[in-house]
């Protein structure tokens, strides 16, 4: 099989810097990698949601591109002693798409039993109503921010059973991990970040660090 280049955020960061400066960045380029990755993550989420809704305009269906999806393991859940709900913490709050798209699925699994049934997702505002209705057998789950709650219909304990959740990932785990997005989304993210940085550089400023290499402005000295 052909060996392809692995696109990483580090690579995207360097590419944006070199594109803006038309060269390797000098120490005068005052946007750090940590800062740049925040711009990229922001653009990724924005691009993802836009892409899904744009696709729906054409096809009539919301479709989440699979390249954004990642399955995380939430190793341990804690039971709230007051409500009796089980609670875990997600790696990030889901993007602003309906449940089923922002989060596409979740199940409990362990080595002795394998993957269990998918949990039944309910919207947080339907939790109260669902409790009063005849319940479908299974584990009901809902999300608030980056917290996920579980309510098993038969009240079985969920202690020490790892939960696996498949959801759209728009945040950075490591600068060197492979980009978790479709290649066609890179264009929009690249342009979005570049535009933000260029407008930032064109802001009048008191501090002009003119002693080192080409400026962090749009003026090329070389």
């Amino acid at each position: 099989m052909a060996s392809l280049i692995a696109y990483t955020k580090k690579m995207l960061i360097e590419r944006i810097k070199r594109d803006i400066l038309n060269d390797f960045p000098s120490s005068e380029f005052n946007v750090s990698d940590n800062e740049m990755v925040l711009y990229i993550d922001q653009a990724s989420a924005f691009t993802l949601v836009g892409q899904v809704y744009q696709g729906a305009k054409v096809s009539g269906n919301l479709v989440m591109p699979e390249a954004y999806l990642t399955t995380y393991e939430i190793p341990s859940l804690a039971k709230d002693s007051v409500t009796g709900y089980w609670k875990g913490v997600l790696p990030q709050p889901p993007v602003s798409l309906p449940i089923g798209y922002s989060v596409s699925g979740g199940y409990f699994a362990n080595t002795s039993n394998g993957a269990g049934m998918e949990v039944i997702w309910i919207k947080p505002n339907r939790v109260g109503r669902r409790k009063d209705m005849p319940q479908q057998f299974g584990i009901h789950a809902w999300i608030q921010g980056s917290d996920i709650y579980f309510a098993p219909s038969n009240n079985i304990p969920l202690l020490n059973i790892p939960f696996y959740i498949t959801m759209a990932k728009t945040r950075t785990e490591s600068l060197t991990e492979t980009l978790n997005l479709p290649d066609d989304a890179i264009e929009m993210i690249f342009n979005n970040v570049k535009q933000k940085l260029i407008s930032r550089m064109n802001m009048p400023k008191d501090i002009i660090q003119d002693d080192i290499s080409q400026g962090a402005t749009n003026i090329t000295n070389k």
Partner: protein
């Protein structure tokens, strides 16, 4: 081009002789003044440039011509000692062109930025993440974090003062290369510096033509 050639060129330019017109000691004083002035011009005179907030350069513009002319004065210290976060500037230091810690960029900040850099949640000073900052004051460079012990500095030094060495032969000063200190500049710059020094000599001789010629050379290079 030896310092003797430069001296003779100068005498020829002003049509004076060594005995009664321009003594070697005067020549040295004037030429050394002119060469530092020439270096300052190459480094970037703030008087000549707009000092607006929109990012016009007031300092060194690292284009190929300027960098090649300055290259005899570019030096580096890969083991600059840092004690309690402070490092004195090396002897003859004129201009910093690069500062790194452990191969990583050290970003220049001003005293007014110290608080916000120390409280930064994205890029706080940290040796663990190779995030380094420095600012300049009378003590030299002060680094953040202050735990670092060594840094690498690339900088421009001031030119060495030239000396037209001589021995006395038959009661006259005769050029002696062994006791002379040669110019570090390239030949073209030597000629230009010599012509630029006529501004000072014009004042000294009360000769407006000479002074105007020197000023013209400073503006146009010829």
């Amino acid at each position: 081009m030896t310092i003797d050639d430069i001296y003779k060129f100068c005498l020829d330019l002003i049509k004076k002789n060594q005995a009664g017109g321009l003594k070697a000691s005067s020549f040295q004083y004037q030429w050394n003044d002119a060469q530092t002035s020439y270096q300052d011009d190459l480094l970037g005179r703030f008087q000549l440039r707009s000092n607006g907030k929109t990012g016009f350069n007031t300092g060194l513009i690292e284009d190929e011509t300027i960098l090649q002319k300055l290259s005899p004065f570019i030096t580096s210290n890969s083991a600059l000692t840092v004690t309690a976060g402070v490092s004195a500037k090396p002897a003859n230091f004129v201009y910093r062109i690069g500062l790194r810690v452990g191969g990583y960029d050290c970003y220049k900040i001003l005293q007014s930025q110290i608080a916000s850099v120390n409280n930064s949640v994205i890029d706080p000073p940290s040796a663990a993440t190779n995030t380094y900052y420095f600012y300049e004051d009378k003590n030299g460079f002060t680094f953040l974090p202050s735990t670092i012990t060594t840094a690498a500095l690339d900088y421009i030094v001031s030119p060495t003062d030239v000396v037209w060495g001589y021995s006395i032969v038959s009661g006259r000063q005769v050029y002696d290369s062994a006791t002379s200190v040669q110019s570090q500049w390239d030949s073209n710059s030597n000629r230009e510096i010599t012509k630029r020094m006529l501004t000072n000599l014009g004042v000294s001789f009360k000769d407006a033509d000479m002074e105007n010629f020197g000023k013209s050379v400073q503006l146009t290079g010829e």
